[in-house]
């Protein structure tokens, strides 16, 4: 009897330990987008280097599950994927905003995912054509109302649209947002042929065009990156606390620009193993070299930090959320 109890105890003790041994197993990273995009690229780089930091060197594969701006993937990871420690998921960084604004189709609670961390922060900047007379953000305030700057955008929910929208609505900069361009590349062409005066977007995607002096960045969102530390932050010009809160809310998810989670209920030991591997892999020398070549600027944000951002974001007074929903729609 004693022996039976002991062996039972041993099984319970050993189970979580066994969960951390990945020998012969396959870890799947579910990506909420098609092959070839930014989220997919990051996932594939991680998949190549993650095995060496997990005991037993498992296979790590990427599974694309596109649709509904990755809501489908997030719903899948939350409700259907087995919490056996073999599933990782990555999705649109703005999904917490979808939850906050009660978008139909959200079948998850961001706070209850097992947060592994984020692989990058993405800062949004507004860049305008270099030949325009406006050189600083102060100049931007002088843009006349009858001749607003034309800002090309893809659509609501994308940073190409939401970031300039708040500059216009809350800071009173005279901008005219023209949306419907198929991709940010098409907006750059529009800028080049002077159909548009500028565009907002992630700093990484704008770098090549800033480097060849087509556009210059004038203002950025809260998350910073090397090269734009000195740019003024949109929130710092907010006329009141309400406006500041709304701008902060829009940019909050950017700190966790490439979020990685595991299904709720994943055993603590498996989450811990993955967190440690995740923290170490992003500092991996080979991974860094590879990411640099792909123009991916990766930096590690811990799971606890990510969860803190999520909690703050979802813990807003109702009036702020209502006001926020007036401007920002989840999309893209």
């Amino acid at each position: 009897m004693k022996r039976a109890v002991l062996s039972l105890l041993l099984v319970f003790w050993a189970a979580p330990l066994l969960a951390q041994d990945y020998a012969g197993k396959t870890v799947t990273i579910v990506v909420g987008y098609k092959t070839g995009g930014g989220y997919d690229k990051v996932a594939r780089v991680l998949a190549r280097h993650l095995p060496k930091y997990l005991t037993g060197k498992p296979n790590v594969i990427v599974q694309n599950m596109p649709g509904a701006n990755s809501l489908i993937a997030a719903d899948y990871i939350y409700n259907i994927a087995k919490p056996d420690g073999l599933t990782l998921g990555t999705f649109n960084r703005n999904l917490p905003i979808a939850q906050l604004t009660h978008v139909a189709g959200v079948k998850f609670d961001m706070r209850k995912f097992q947060w592994v961390g984020s692989a990058a922060s993405e800062s949004t900047v507004l860049a305008i054509r270099d030949d325009l007379p406006y050189r600083t953000f102060e100049d931007l305030k002088k843009v006349p109302a009858d001749k607003p700057l034309i800002i090309g955008a893809t659509g609501p929910g994308a940073n190409t649209y939401d970031f300039p929208l708040l500059l216009k609505e809350l800071l009173g900069i005279h901008l005219k947002i023209v949306s419907g361009y198929p991709s940010s590349g098409d907006i750059m062409l529009a800028v080049e042929r002077k159909e548009a005066d500028g565009r907002a977007g992630s700093f990484t995607s704008l770098t090549p065009f800033i480097d060849r002096k087509l556009v210059r960045p004038l203002v950025r969102s809260r998350a910073s990156e090397p090269g734009i530390e000195k740019l003024p932050v949109d929130e710092s010009f907010a006329p009141n606390a309400r406006a500041k809160a709304i701008m902060a809310l829009r940019s909050a998810p950017e700190v966790i620009g490439r979020p990685y989670v595991m299904p709720p209920g994943t055993p603590a030991a498996a989450v811990e193993a993955m967190r440690q591997a995740f923290a170490r892999v992003i500092d991996d020398k080979d991974l860094k070299a590879e990411a640099r070549k792909q123009k991916l600027d990766l930096n590690y944000v811990s799971g606890d930090e990510a969860l803190k951002v999520i909690n703050e974001l979802l813990d807003q007074p109702k009036d702020v959320v209502d006001e926020f929903s007036k401007y920002i729609k989840f999309g893209e």
Partner: protein
């Protein structure tokens, strides 16, 4: 420049790039044959393999693979009526009709030779566009792109049957296509349109399951009902004979081949129009070339010109879509967007530099497209007999295989079961359209161009109010659209008069 042109060729012909190109070709060959597994996805998956390579080797590998996909996609489309790629659907209309008449060999011969000519012209355009590419692309703003979409929609007139009834059906089908292109979240206000609260429809209908359903399912039903092989009871010997005839057809209609190649190249060069538009415009243009009412009726029932047109355009657009990718770093299609990632991996910055400092690399791409197509087309001709013979396999053996291809093809686009449902629904739609004599091409044209037309119209009005209507290129394109619509009506009238006189 001439020196760089030859240097490009020599560098591609070195043993390593050539070897990588051959590997790419073998890969692309299969990707093209299998429906659903698209060229763009494969490019993304192959990207990591280029880490250790030199730029010319890497592009020989990637472009070699990519330029073959469109060619072998034609084969699946012609033989089975299943679009091998989203970009090779238009060729089904006449190509598969020919296969059913026992002319699979001739259809394949025509498709392959026109593909080769198309690829050459596209590659040549890439080389020739080098000095003028910037002003050319920059002269096409949103208003011009909108009018291009309108010209595209005007081709519905050419794709419909003659007479008032035919036109009415054609434009109704086109309107239905336009309506379905509106499904999904709109990019101006972010409203979800016709999504019925499903997540699946949020980003609109995916083209691949729609096309596979619309074209493959009716053919399968037809095949099952007939119970014979695709080519009916025709003797085997006859099937394979026509390949040379098909090649001759391409040269018999050489100007059509050239014109359709130019259409493809032009659509390729214009970023923001997407890869699947070119084939339909080329098909519409080919249908326009019918001189008599009798000939016009032959389109859709196996006119070889309906094979040559899309065959040429589909391959020429690849060279074209490299132009904005190389010169501006703005990709002309999804596949090119992924190729752009390849540029960064290799430490190359697309933009003006590619036309000066790295000109050799740019020209090596031109040569890769040419060589890869020559190799593939030659290889295909070796297997052509066997391929064409597939159309004499009895239905009960063929149908299960094609069904598997159809469902895997539609499922792999998004890994969602809803894709299969969409395939089945549009299969029913396609079957109804075929049996009621409604043309499917205008429907697809509406679906493909709807979103483009809507977005660029919105941008044009928001940006320029009404002033865009007087831009010279807009006026010219508008006149062109009117001509495209009125021409078939005038021709029908002239024919009627001539017949009355006779």
């Amino acid at each position: 420049m001439i020196e760089a042109l030859f240097q490009g060729l020599l560098q591609v012909l070195a043993w390593k790039p050539l070897l990588f190109m051959l590997i790419g070709i073998v890969l692309g060959f299969w990707v093209g044959l299998l429906p659903g597994l698209g060229g763009a996805t494969t490019l993304a998956l192959m990207l990591p393999f280029i880490y250790g390579m030199q730029p010319i080797e890497a592009f020989a590998f990637l472009l070699g693979m990519h330029s073959v996909v469109a060619t072998t996609g034609d084969i699946t489309s012609i033989l089975f009526g299943v679009p091998g790629e989203a970009t090779t659907a238009a060729i089904i209309l006449d190509g598969h009709a020919m296969a059913k008449k026992g002319e699979a060999g001739r259809a394949l011969g025509a498709a392959l030779s026109s593909s080769l000519v198309g690829a050459m012209i596209g590659a040549f355009a890439l080389a020739a566009a080098v000095p003028i590419v910037r002003p050319l692309v920059l002269s096409f703003g949103s208003p011009e792109l909108f009018m291009l979409a309108i010209v595209g929609l005007a081709f519905i007139a050419a794709l419909s049957a003659e007479g008032g009834r035919g036109m009415l059906r054609g434009f109704t089908a086109g309107g239905l296509g336009l309506l379905l292109s509106m499904v999904g979240q709109d990019p101006q206000a972010g409203v979800a349109r016709y999504t019925f609260n499903t997540l699946y429809l949020w980003q609109g209908l995916d083209l691949v399951p729609v096309l596979v359903g619309l074209f493959a399912i009716p053919e399968l039903v037809d095949l099952a009902v007939r119970g014979t092989s695709i080519a009916g009871e025709l003797p085997v010997g006859k099937l394979t004979k026509g390949a040379l005839e098909g090649v001759k057809d391409t040269f018999r209609h050489f100007w059509l081949t050239i014109r359709c190649s130019l259409i493809g190249t032009f659509i390729g060069i214009m970023p923001g129009l997407g890869g699947s538009v070119a084939q339909w415009l080329a098909y519409g243009h080919a249908a326009q070339s019918a001189r008599t009412a009798e000939e016009r009726k032959g389109f859709g029932n196996g006119d070889v010109r309906g094979v040559i047109g899309p065959g040429a355009a589909c391959n020429s657009k690849e060279g074209g879509s490299l132009v904005p990718t190389v010169a501006f770093g703005v990709p002309g299609s999804t596949a090119m967007a992924i190729l752009l990632g390849g540029f960064f991996l290799l430490g190359l910055v697309p933009g003006p530099d590619m036309l000066t400092t790295h000109l050799t690399v740019t020209f090596s791409m031109v040569w890769t497209i040419v060589l890869a197509n020559v190799i593939t087309v030659t290889a295909c001709f070796l297997f052509l007999d066997r391929l064409a013979r597939l159309t004499s396999v009895p239905a009960h053996r063929l149908i299960p295989v094609i069904l598997v291809l159809v469902f895997i093809g539609s499922y792999t686009t998004n890994n969602q079961y809803a894709d299969i449902l969409v395939t089945l629904i549009f299969g029913a739609v396609g079957w109804l359209m075929v049996s009621a004599g409604w043309p499917r091409a205008p429907f697809v044209l509406g679906l493909v161009l709807g979103k483009i037309a809507e977005n660029y119209l919105y941008i044009s009005v928001a940006r320029y109010e009404v002033a865009w209507l007087t831009r010279p290129v807009v006026v010219v394109l508008f006149a062109l659209a009117v001509v495209v619509i009125v021409y078939p009506i005038l021709r029908a009238r002239r024919l009627a008069r001539r017949e009355a006189n006779a």
